[in-house]
Symmetry: C3
Subunit: 138 residues, 3 copies
């Protein structure tokens, strides 16, 4: 049983979904681990991880609108010193979560056909985000 750790550094430019399946699958594929467990951890409280449909881009538009509705900007937050998008960003991170753990088989995560992995940036301004990958297996 072996382990491998890696950190992806991702520059975001604006709010929205950023596909990260490619760098994640590439890294897993390079570790020479056939069967195991992949964990992805987003080290932030205003960006999160999401597994969702990778086919029709309209799905992503609707997801972003829904997050806007469920955790809207507004004057009703106590915490507003970091800008109007900061508190909603914390709430949206809770909604989608900062962690994924995926079984690995045949050297790749067992994602379904339509499942893509995304980093979900909730802040308006550019940020540098760190996503830690941990792989365990043999």
């Amino acid at each position: 049983m072996r382990q491998a750790l890696h950190t992806l550094s991702i520059n975001t430019r604006r709010k929205g979904l950023l596909p990260i399946s490619r760098p994640v699958l590439d890294w897993v594929g390079a570790q020479g681990i056939e069967t195991g467990l992949l964990t992805i951890w987003c080290r932030h409280t205003s960006a999160s991880l999401l597994v969702q449909e990778n086919a029709d881009p309209d799905v992503q538009t609707d997801i972003e609108s829904w997050f806007d509705r469920v955790a809207p900007e507004g004057p009703h937050y106590v915490h507003d010193i970091e800008g109007p998008d900061d508190m909603p960003a914390h709430l949206r991170s809770i909604l989608s979560g900062v962690q994924l753990t995926i079984p690995v088989s045949g050297g790749r995560p067992v994602l379904g056909t339509w499942q893509g992995i995304y980093l979900f940036e909730h802040r308006a301004r550019p940020h540098r985000r760190e996503v830690v990958l941990h792989l365990l297996g043999e």
Copy 2:
């Protein structure tokens, strides 16, 4: 340290919660692993996993109504080519998530007394769903 992988194939008939604790616990129990880590992965973007009360069926009724309210059907979605229940299904999957990782002790997941594991189908029509189980331990 050993690993085991298995895929549950589950036929759903309609929207709603389907208990899967039994097949999950049976499979874990048959692997001869006393202490370890169980990961459950749902390979879909319109069905999800949920851990919730397994006692009063009214709780499940209220959960399903709440999902209807938080991510309702309606004419406001851009993505509507797969039917009115498809986009809400994606959003409801985000709300409950597609992954669970549970410590295993004494040959079984450390679920609390009232915790049951459910597959949550969000589409109206019957679907064949795949849930991957990964067990690691000794």
Copy 3:
């Protein structure tokens, strides 16, 4: 590769966020495992786990208000035999989830600078909560 298991027993007094980073990090640090995977499991359906900002307490106030709005108390639940706060407590548990899996590096979970781990109590009355910690690595 080694494993360790531990259960934190936490007495809650009221609804709200209770920081648990300290006991979690202390326990992980004492296991002598440099690199690995930490899993935290909350054995309840009316309390949950949350990773969120550990700096400005106003963030916690806004998080608690948001949970009140998204899953409010009210007369519209079928399940009401355990009190008006019980069904909302189940829904709020779904919203934040009962499980976290975090890579461990250098003997500690790779939490970001602003990430704190919280037990989120959703019931009004005092409860005794069990949080299981599982560590795997070497």
